[in-house]
Symmetry: D2
Subunit: 337 residues, 4 copies
């Protein structure tokens, strides 16, 4: 950590900051510049809350040298985390595609969609039973009844299940039915939910918040890992920018950045990011080409009847076509689906 003192800091103020740092367990190295003094503070204290130092008299700024996350970082673990769910591996050479409708609604449509995404090559079935909706008047999900439909679809197709949990009080129930717990973008900094999901010992898929930095996203993962649960899948789903042609801006750069900083697998969600099925195909390919470990894609047998996010859902035929094209792109970057 580097502490930058302002140009009018007194000797006493500098000495006082050094004393405090030493008391916290740092070794200090002051550097006296022509205009400003900076203090190097040696010691890996990232588990220490050092924000108060910023407020000491004479301090201009505090520059961390170490990343604030530890368990999620590549410095701690060089090898990529591979998550095993039965015989399925997420984070290995094989790319994993999760697919299904935004929400679980009509039973027959849902099972039909499940069979079709399975046939096209998806390994995991998605479908929301608890839906976080912007409007209180919008469809909020079938709740436990939806979870039961997910369970039936799993038994019928052999697909694994990923579904969202939105309330600490539901974690136990959702964990009973689902193979992976999804933390939605709006809950990425719902820290209580992160801890509760971590404690369930199911793998946790963490969507990036709409305005979360990559560092904050990795800190959300750190919350889960610090409960003792290392099985985390990060999911880039678009960030909020000024552009309005797409619902959000899929930050594809986040894929190589996360791979540089962390050992955790990362997938992309082109459906929510763009908000339009027309752009799902090119962005799914882009994510794979950039190194993503998988994708989560909305597929609906009858998008015009979807009660949620119909406009961004692919029909099963388009999804099948996409899966075939993705196989070629995956091979081009030495992966397979």
């Amino acid at each position: 950590m580097i502490i930058v003192m302002n140009s009018s800091a007194t000797k006493e103020e500098i000495q006082s900051v050094e004393n405090i740092l030493v008391n916290l367990g740092f070794k200090t190295h002051p550097i006296y510049g022509e205009i400003k003094t900076v203090i190097g503070a040696i010691g890996d204290k990232r588990l220490l809350d050092t924000e108060m130092i910023k407020n000491l008299p004479g301090v201009e700024n505090l520059v961390p040298i170490m990343k604030p996350y530890k368990l999620a970082s590549k410095e701690l673990q060089q090898n990529k985390t591979i998550i095993e769910i039965g015989d399925l591996k997420i984070g290995g050479n094989e790319l994993i595609v999760m697919a299904g409708p935004c929400a679980v609604e009509d039973e027959q449509v849902f099972y039909a969609t499940a069979h079709k995404v399975k046939a096209a090559g998806a390994k995991i079935l998605r479908g929301g039973a608890f839906k976080p909706r912007t409007s209180p008047y919008a469809f909020q999900g079938l709740e436990e009844q939806g979870l039961k439909m997910l369970d039936i679809a799993r038994n019928e197709t052999g697909l694994k299940i990923v579904t969202e949990v939105v309330d600490t009080r539901d974690v136990e129930t959702v964990a009973k039915y689902s193979d992976i717990l999804q933390i939605g973008a709006r809950n990425m900094q719902n820290f209580r939910l992160l801890k509760e999901a971590g404690a369930s010992n199911k793998p946790v898929l963490i969507k990036r918040g709409l305005s979360a930095t990559i560092e904050e996203w990795l800190m959300a993962a750190e919350y889960v890992i610090s409960t003792g649960n290392p099985n985390i899948i990060l999911c880039e789903r678009g960030i909020r920018t000024f552009e309005t042609a797409t619902r959000n801006t899929l930050d594809i750069s986040a894929i190589p950045v996360v791979k540089e900083l962390s050992h955790l697998p990362i997938i992309a969600d082109p459906s929510h990011a763009t908000g339009s099925w027309k752009y799902v195909n090119p962005l799914a390919k882009a994510a794979i080409a950039a190194g993503a470990d998988g994708l989560i894609i909305e597929v609906h047998n009858d998008p015009a009847k979807a009660m949620c996010d119909g406009p961004q859902s692919l029909k099963p035929d388009k999804f099948k076509e996409l899966m075939q094209e993705l196989r070629t792109v995956a091979l081009a970057v030495n992966r397979n689906i």
Copy 2:
């Protein structure tokens, strides 16, 4: 609602969209342009989920004419909502200042701060007992012990209490000790928490999410009002932008915009928005000049020892000075403190 058909939409597609709209209860008025057809759909159906219409064949876009919120809108209620807590009124001509430390920590420091903000003219005491922190290693709050300290401070000073709730499971407990429940920026779209807080029948202060539009913020209010609880205070606390000189960008325009759209009182939080005590004074004045109904300001007796957000906390003397200056600014816009 206006449905814009794309330039290659067929007669059958246009007819089909009209039929669906009629079935949903709208009256339809198609307008045939040279290149595109648009369909006007008459009827106030904002409680209806119409997103699926976007996905009908031939539809290019859907333009809502009505706002998606109803109970929070000025169209429904012209008069400003005034929230009464004992003899205190929020939303009236008198501006209400909430002040106190970010978190409740040391007991004696906390009570001393409480007495000083009271003396300076604050009417409500703030202090977090449950702290949502970016890092799992940072201080997370004293929880119920902190709530008890808030209660003691209330009894000692006569100040009302506002404190944050971060988990649906804690709403009942927090409501027992607090006069106002605060929903933090990170939980603005934690819809379950909004509903639970609404059901407590305590006034709810909703901070704007870091990347929330004003419309989404009013929808969060709509969630609370739709539980039957009309006592909502909106709090602008800065949005995330590319600028790094301040922690966030206080969107002062949101104050007149909210006053144009809604009957709910709105206050500003210059401390969290800027992240630096140096900018709290000018931005507090700006918020009042722009029409805010109050402020929430961090004050700490010994900011250098604060375990949370010290750099943005005013010392009691600076706060007292600010309160005096704010009185003049308030008078200049025909309000008083």
Copy 3:
């Protein structure tokens, strides 16, 4: 165009808006809703400045139905524009890679780099002679001397040349030496420069502005096309967001969006977008997978000595490797390099 009248608009105000629209040449279709009236205005008047209508009494909002650009839009021209420079075609099935250093500096290093990017398969040589730099104290380019070095490199290697022009007074000189005129991100709305570049009759490469919407970017293209010069290459180079792990956020979605809206070729610049050579490889692949018509990549023989943007420059060996890998990705999406 749809004009939305506010809920308190009077009959007279509605009539007055209709009269004005009719005088402007529109046919009008009012739709009287329960709460608001909207007026459909038929006629393709996008060359008309209709902003003043927003300001008429009783008007709440104006919703354009047609895009504001015409010559750049796919509605006017379905077939993709293919730009021919000698035997080179930009916008066809073959992907075009532009490569070279950020700025033309040391003569021998520059020629050596030029030969190496040619050997690796680049078709166009980049290199700035006029550099728009954030600091007045930073290297501003060799100006005409740099242009002459570009010319020599062209003669030596057979590569075409793309270089930036930053001042209307330099357009003629730059056009004398260069095959393509580059308009930088900071000048995307320097409308005089766009017109002057258009008038040169050289192909114009328009970088997207740091905070430009796709629509504004296409309007910049419209400025050039409206001078009679249809040879425009759009270049996505990252937009400004709150994320700081990369310099900017490469908006890969812009590639399929532009292809949906316009007939103009679009390329991507992963070097400037990310600011780091480490991320150039995965993002170059992502851009191709998403459908880009080419790339512009910084390559420098000795990045540690580069006076400008060294950190984002690939060494020639890494560039050669990338080109080989890109060939496979291109084939996977039915393109070739």
Copy 4:
């Protein structure tokens, strides 16, 4: 300057970076941490281009300690710059209001507006003769004819003139007619125009770019000052964010931040920032309360007929009312108008 070496940097790489720094004239102070080494580099070399250091082998990051601007900074000059134009002082205790229409159009309307803003207390008349418009089909300004109308209005009213220049080739002409040269938001990083405007020796008003950081804005000022022209007025006019209720987000925090960092006067433009006359009044007051040295406000005698930005223009009566209210707000913060 602090150079952070990555955790796998070798002794040779660290030594090599030190050697290079010493050759550049720095004194170096390495600090060997447990995991990473950082090198303190002493010496005020902000006029030196040190970006290439980031690209040296083993370097992870470079942390500047000094601001990149010098002449614009408060470190160099503590006293506020006061710009004198005849008997008018900008930057002193008296607040200066600039007002007038977006563009100079109809001669009689323009002169009438000029007289009215003068009567209401404005000291400077605004009006564009060269208009940078998003669409090539929109009104682009009356050019020199417009400048002449500005000159006539000056003679008639005694108001000073501020008007925009958009092309290096026009600087001389605009400087002939105008008292202050305005650099628009879109040209904030048109560095050639900044230099040319600086060389005119007229005061230069620099609007903040739509996505410019405060640091980049001060660097734009540094461009002008480094030509020998110290008379710069900074103008905050809103930045681009995801919020759509206002055209841009007026960053009021920028006012105290600029006052902390620089000696230059700063004003605000609530008209362009919000895009709606309804929000001009509260935001004008907010800017004054936050410490702005003045305002620039659009006023039009007949906004419904304005060819440009009518919706954000105040009618003269509303402007007069605003000026009266502003006087009270100014007094409340110990300024006067």
